[in-house]
């Protein structure tokens, strides 16, 4: 009892001291900076490296102050058809995301509604299998269909990444939609498809947004499938970044410049949609 009586007063007087308050604020941000430093540093180092010459990049000790150069970006765009690679990434990412939504949403709804747990597990297993084990059969299949190097082959391959993720994210969302609404709609004469379309889909919009964004990002970052199934002309960005690593030399400046170009669009996109995405993710995670 005495303690609870004392604390507020103590707390009160403590709060009123401006100096302590400033220290507290500084300490808070210092700690924040310390925690985030490793994450920021990697990005900062990448961006700095993109503006350094090879000599500056390999200097011992590492340089933090230097005369920046734009030469690396020049090489990146001149040595590689970067715009083409960017376009390739966008086409494949959009295609794989759209198809994942078209097939994944009804699938997830059906699994959630009719409790098809086995089906859900089977889809998960398909995703857990290491991607490389699919590659040889895919290569045989696609080369017999004369599809190697086509966007279609890449999009279909990326579906292995985007489809299970969309389904698994959406199962949670659909399970969270109140059963009463379904029943009411059914009584009012809606069929199952109508319930899905008019009730379930509008209610799970944040989830759909989150799945779409994550699908796109995962497809954007996928390296292995793109490496094997793309041709020189359909190569997406991540594969292109590696062209700066050679057997006898690593062009650090070019590599960093290319990596910056690859990271930037995703980073900007995430900044714009992060609220939506976090809401979507947490909504799906907490079951009512």
């Amino acid at each position: 009892m005495r303690a609870t009586a004392l604390t507020p007063r103590h707390h009160h007087s403590w709060r009123n001291r401006p100096l302590l308050k400033t220290i507290r604020t500084i300490a808070f941000y210092a700690l924040l900076l310390l925690l985030f430093f490793p994450f920021f540093f990697v990005f900062a180092w990448m961006i700095m490296g993109a503006f350094k010459t090879q000599l500056q990049n390999t200097a011992i000790p590492p340089l933090f102050l230097f005369e920046p150069t734009l030469e690396n970006f020049d090489t990146v765009f001149r040595r590689n058809p970067m715009i083409q690679f960017l376009l390739n990434s966008i086409i494949v990412g959009t295609g794989a995301t759209l198809l994942a939504l078209i097939f994944g949403l009804p699938a997830a709804y059906s699994i959630a509604r009719f409790k098809q747990q086995r089906l859900a597990t089977a889809i998960l297993i398909a995703r857990i299998m290491p991607g490389i084990s699919y590659l040889v059969p895919w290569f045989i299949l696609f080369s017999n269909l004369k599809m190697i190097g086509s966007y279609a082959a890449l999009i279909l391959a990326h579906l292995l990444v985007t489809l299970p993720m969309t389904i698994w994210l959406m199962i949670g969302f659909f399970e969270d939609t109140p059963q009463e609404l379904h029943d009411a709609a059914l009584i009012d004469g809606c069929n199952e498809w109508g319930v899905f379309e008019k009730i379930a889909l509008p209610l799970t919009k944040p989830g759909i947004a989150a799945s779409a964004i994550l699908s796109f990002v995962f497809s954007w970052n996928n390296f292995l499938f793109s490496l094997i199934l793309a041709s020189q002309a359909t190569r997406p960005l991540p594969v292109a970044v590696f062209s700066f690593i050679s057997y006898t030399q690593i062009d650090w400046g070019g590599l960093n410049a290319a990596a910056t170009i690859v990271t930037l669009p995703v980073l900007v996109m995430i900044l714009f949609v992060q609220k939506q995405m976090v809401r979507g993710l947490t909504l799906g995670a907490v079951k009512g």
């Binding site: 390999t58 200097a59 011992i60 045989i140 190697i148 279609a152 094997i228 020189q232």
Partner: protein
């Protein structure tokens, strides 16, 4: 139900998009060529396979980039269309291995390294016998001059069964690069040739308080075994004994490990057990290391003003000589033809063009250490070469070198991991003999699991 219809239309549209994308123009079948003309020694018919299409898969490295700039000339000369693909080493291996394993690859010509993947590729039947092509006058330019390639150079494209499965695009040897300025400052003579001279020089140069180290070299486990193989042979050891049994715990092998470990411990840079070529090169080109033992191919970086601070101070010699003499390893990439290619003659024409005398001399002038003696001894190159000792050392290394820089097993990386662990232990100063015994057992089991080449 309007929306439902819309939804179905969207699905239908999507499938149309996919189907139409599937129907990307397929490769036109090669135009039927006229029957091979009777051999005319006067003028070799480069156009004999006009209209065909080749896919060439390359690893990112200087020679590849050099050819990339020239490849349009091949199209002019032969009328053969070339898709020229370049990928970094690891990604290249992943891609070609998957394609070849699938058996439906349309790669015709590719780069390879016998010491790394030779046994695997040969037992899978992926390499074409090059010697047969060389000896076929109908499809080989009489001016090709096969004998012009150095012996060790060809050695990097030969399997243990003697089959030649490629032609070298360039060669490298186990080298010791040194910083003349640091040697002068310490009052030591160069080039350092024997293990004793190297130890003495390292001792005199080593000043860790000033950030200068006597010797740098690879120490990162598996990455270190290739360079270490030069030293191993200088001590008279090898991966296997005369009967083909694993021998990486023989007394001579252990002596080499001990010497290498001690040199690192006493005169090396901190963190040596994580060093591959990048870390050694970074210290060396910044003038922070007296000597750097690594592949000669990196000398081009060391003398490139865009990358190096010691352009005028760098020297190069062969990897250290020991009690059993001086036997640097010889390596490099070779151009091979995929056994299942549908364009055998066109592929061979590409190899002849890319590795013909004219192109090789051009490559040599672009700082590539080619495998043709004629290029090294040409007046053109001799005049342009600013490092005459390099040319002499290279040709000498090609005479005495050994191309077996990897243990002769199928699972090369497993063997390298096991042997690399021994080197790490020696640098750390812990019990490397026990590790060597373990590595030897491992190597023997890998040797037992390696198919015998026919």
């Amino acid at each position: 139900m309007n929306k439902r219809i819309l939804f179905l239309v969207a699905v239908a549209l999507a499938s149309i998009v996919i189907l139409s994308a599937c129907a990307t123009p397929t490769q036109a079948p090669p135009a039927p060529t006229t029957a091979p003309a009777a051999p005319q020694p006067a003028a070799f018919n480069w156009k004999m396979r006009q209209g065909e299409k080749l896919r060439v898969a390359m690893v990112t490295q200087p020679w590849t980039q050099f050819v990339d700039k020239e490849v349009s000339k091949f199209k002019e000369l032969t009328g053969i269309d070339v898709t020229y693909e370049i990928l970094p080493e690891d990604q290249f291996r992943q891609k070609t291995t998957v394609e070849f394993a699938a058996g439906t690859s349309d790669v015709d010509v590719f780069l390879s390294m016998v010491a790394q993947e030779g046994i695997k590729y040969e037992s899978a039947g992926w390499y074409m016998d090059i010697e047969k092509l060389v000896n076929d006058p109908k499809i080989t330019d009489p001016k090709f001059d096969f004998k012009d390639f150095t012996t060790s150079g060809l050695g990097i494209a030969k399997l243990s069964n003697g089959k030649l499965i490629g032609l070298p695009v360039y060669n490298e040897f186990g080298a010791l690069m040194y910083n003349k300025e640091l040697f002068d400052k310490a009052g030591v003579k160069y080039p350092p040739k024997t293990i004793e001279e190297i130890e003495a020089a390292a001792k005199a140069i080593h000043k860790p308080s000033e950030g200068v180290y006597g010797f740098v070299g690879r120490g990162a486990g598996a990455a270190s075994t290739s360079q270490f193989s030069s030293l191993m042979r200088s001590f008279g050891a090898d991966w296997t004994d005369a009967s083909g049994k694993a021998a990486v715990n023989s007394d001579k092998f252990l002596a080499a490990v001990k010497w290498y470990g001690n040199l690192h411990k006493q005169y090396g840079a901190p963190g040596a057990t994580s060093f591959s070529w990048q870390q050694g090169q970074d210290l060396f080109i910044n003038g922070k290391a007296g000597m750097w033992m690594d592949a000669s191919v990196f000398f081009a970086n060391v003398v490139d003003p865009k990358q190096s601070k010691i352009v005028d101070k760098a020297g190069i010699t062969m990897a250290p000589g020991g009690p059993a003499g001086q036997t640097p390893y010889v390596g490099g990439w070779h151009l091979s033809i995929y056994e299942k290619t549908k364009h055998k003659e066109a592929a061979w024409l590409f190899v002849q063009w890319a590795l013909g005398k004219e192109m090789v001399l051009k490559a040599q002038m672009n700082n590539i250490t080619t495998s043709r003696v004629s290029a090294w001894e040409s007046e053109e190159y001799k005049k342009a070469n600013k490092y005459p000792e390099f040319g002499a050392t290279f040709l000498q290394a090609m005479k005495v070198g050994n191309a077996q820089w990897n243990p002769p097993v199928l699972a090369v990386s497993e063997a390298r991991d096991a042997i690399g662990a021994v080197i790490v232990k020696a640098i750390e100063g812990s019990d490397y003999t026990a590790e060597a015994a373990k590595a030897n057992t491992k190597l023997q089991s890998l040797l037992d699991a390696t198919p015998k080449l026919k």
